[in-house]
């Protein structure tokens, strides 16, 4: 019986669900989404690849390529922490819509 006033009030109010994907919630600034790499500032010290807990990052020094497997990435941000450059060459973006049907699409090459 005690729930009744709240139930009646709620039936006539706006629901708390956001109609995704038409409505999107704004994410806070520090949100840890997909990793991005900045080719210009990177010095190829290999710190991010060595320190990654799941070995998701592969770097080819000779060809100057940097690849990450977002299937293995746990979005912890450690690569960002250990990167020595200013501004950081490896950082979290706010991208979180990362699903795909094919597993090859998870190995991102920059």
């Amino acid at each position: 019986m005690n729930l009744l006033p709240e139930v009646i009030k709620r039936v006539f109010s706006r629901p708390s669900t956001r109609r995704y994907p038409k409505e999107r919630v704004s994410l806070p600034k520090g949100f840890r989404g997909r990793i991005d790499w900045n080719r210009e500032t990177c010095i190829f010290c290999m710190n991010c690849a060595i320190n990654c807990p799941t070995n998701a990052i592969t770097i080819d020094r000779d060809n100057k390529t940097w690849a990450i497997d977002i299937g293995k990435c746990i979005f912890c941000g450690r690569c960002h922490d250990v990167c020595p450059t200013k501004p950081k060459s490896v950082y979290n973006t706010q991208k979180f819509e990362l699903s795909d049907y094919r597993k090859e699409k998870f190995r991102l090459k920059f």
Binding site: M1, N2, L3, E6, V7, S16, L27, P28, G30, F31, R32, N51, P53, I74, F75, C76, G77, R78, D81, N92
Partner: protein, 385 residues
């Protein structure tokens, strides 16, 4: 009426995680139960031994989704003990603040599940809506809703910015108001009371004998809370253990709501008293600990006392043993299920707040020689144990 065996699990719509209880039922009354765990065994304790200490932090966070921060706090506290490292004061306050926020969200999840098991899905949705207030705060302060990665060895990784404190206070005020409302509801709604009062009763003497931990034992009248020992910043805060008599499902729910309100007070106090200072002590990039050193580290997770035993083998641990609170609490189900009816089973199981992900560890005890031996994956595969 004849006796028959009703399987509760491993797959069941009422269970969030797989566990197996074989209920011996006579009509609708439970006369016995046989509890089996192990469906969620992930081999985490073995995985620790292959990683250096700093990478082990990420592994320990993933032992459990809803108490991950407590696992990393306990693990890093153990490593800091082994290194003889002193954590700066600001880092201790931040650890406590994030920990108390996680306690609130974990308790609200457990309470929502109890409401759902009673058949009241309206209350389930209301409690989960209020839990979103805490999840938003966690996302704002740490960058993710679960698995915060706040702890590093030697301190914390991120700071609590002052511009967020207004939002934190607003949400916490609302949560405190809602918790009060829910306590009134649980105590006064006749149907909720009929499903929770005098159900799943654990007496104080039985609790002393069986030794559960966490709010389950505090609801039976025994005050046991690791935060009394004053680790991290609890020694500077006004913390008191909450106990209550009663020992039934209703009391376990009420004490969780009251602990949420107490956590709100602690977070506000932390925000007020947050001292200026460093966020972490400096540690070498590769951590080496003298071989053979061992330590035990304890924290109060939302479900109870969490213990980590660490033994070092240089750059990696030699052995990490995790004693999670659910592992310790789970066996009281054999006692508190007896004599009640089938409809009470999901409510009682949900009221002890089991986290099976945390609880599945496997140790082989050799009853002939009473020695404990850890089995490796190869031994299991070859059938040697």
């Amino acid at each position: 009426m004849h006796e028959y065996v009703l399987p509760f699990g491993p797959q069941h719509p009422a269970l969030l995680e797989p566990l197996h209880i074989k209920l011996k039922v006579d009509g609708e009354t439970i006369v016995g139960s046989d509890i089996k765990l192990g469906y969620n065994h992930k081999g985490i304790e073995k995985s620790f031994e292959n990683r250096p200490w700093s990478k082990g932090m990420y592994l320990s966070e993933r032992v459990c989704g809803i108490c991950g921060h407590f696992h990393t706090s306990c693990f890093s506290q153990g490593i800091e003990n082994l290194l003889g490292l002193e954590v700066p004061e600001r880092a201790e306050y931040v650890r406590v603040l994030i920990g108390e926020l996680e306690r609130i969200h974990s308790h609200l999840l457990a309470l929502g599940v109890v409401a759902y098991e009673m058949g009241l899905d309206t209350l389930f949705h209301y409690i989960f809506r209020d839990r979103e207030l805490v999840m938003d705060l966690q996302e704002l302060l740490t960058g993710n809703r679960v698995h915060f990665v706040m702890n590093v060895i030697g301190g914390v990784r991120q700071d609590i910015k002052t511009e967020h404190s207004k939002r934190v206070e607003e949400n916490l005020e609302r949560i405190e108001e809602r918790c009060r409302h829910y306590i009134r509801l649980f105590r006064s709604d006749s149907l909720v009371k009929s499903r929770t009062k005098h159900v799943g009763y654990l007496s104080k003497s039985k609790a002393k004998e069986l030794n559960p931990v966490g709010p389950n034992v505090r609801a039976s009248g025994i005050d046991y809370d690791v935060r009394e020992t004053g680790y991290f910043a609890y020694k500077y805060l006004n913390f008191r253990t909450l106990t209550t008599e009663g020992g039934d499902v209703l009391e376990r729910c009420i004490i969780r709501f009251r602990e949420c309100m107490e956590s709100v007070k602690l977070v506000k106090e932390c925000l007020l008293k947050l001292p200026k200072g460093e966020l972490k002590s400096s540690v070498p990039p590769v951590i080496r600990i003298r071989e053979g050193l061992e330590t035990v580290s304890r924290v109060e997770a939302p479900r109870g006392e969490l213990i980590y035993y660490l033994k070092s083998a240089g750059e990696k641990p030699y052995r990490v043993k995790i004693r999670t609170p659910t592992y310790q609490t789970f066996h009281i189900l054999g006692e508190i299920l007896r004599g009640y009816e089938i409809p009470d089973v999901p409510v009682i199981v949900a009221s002890i707040d089991p986290c099976i992900s945390c609880a599945d560890r496997m140790t082989v005890v050799d009853t002939n020689t009473n020695r404990e031996r850890i089995v490796t994956k190869e031994e299991i595969r070859e059938g040697k144990c």
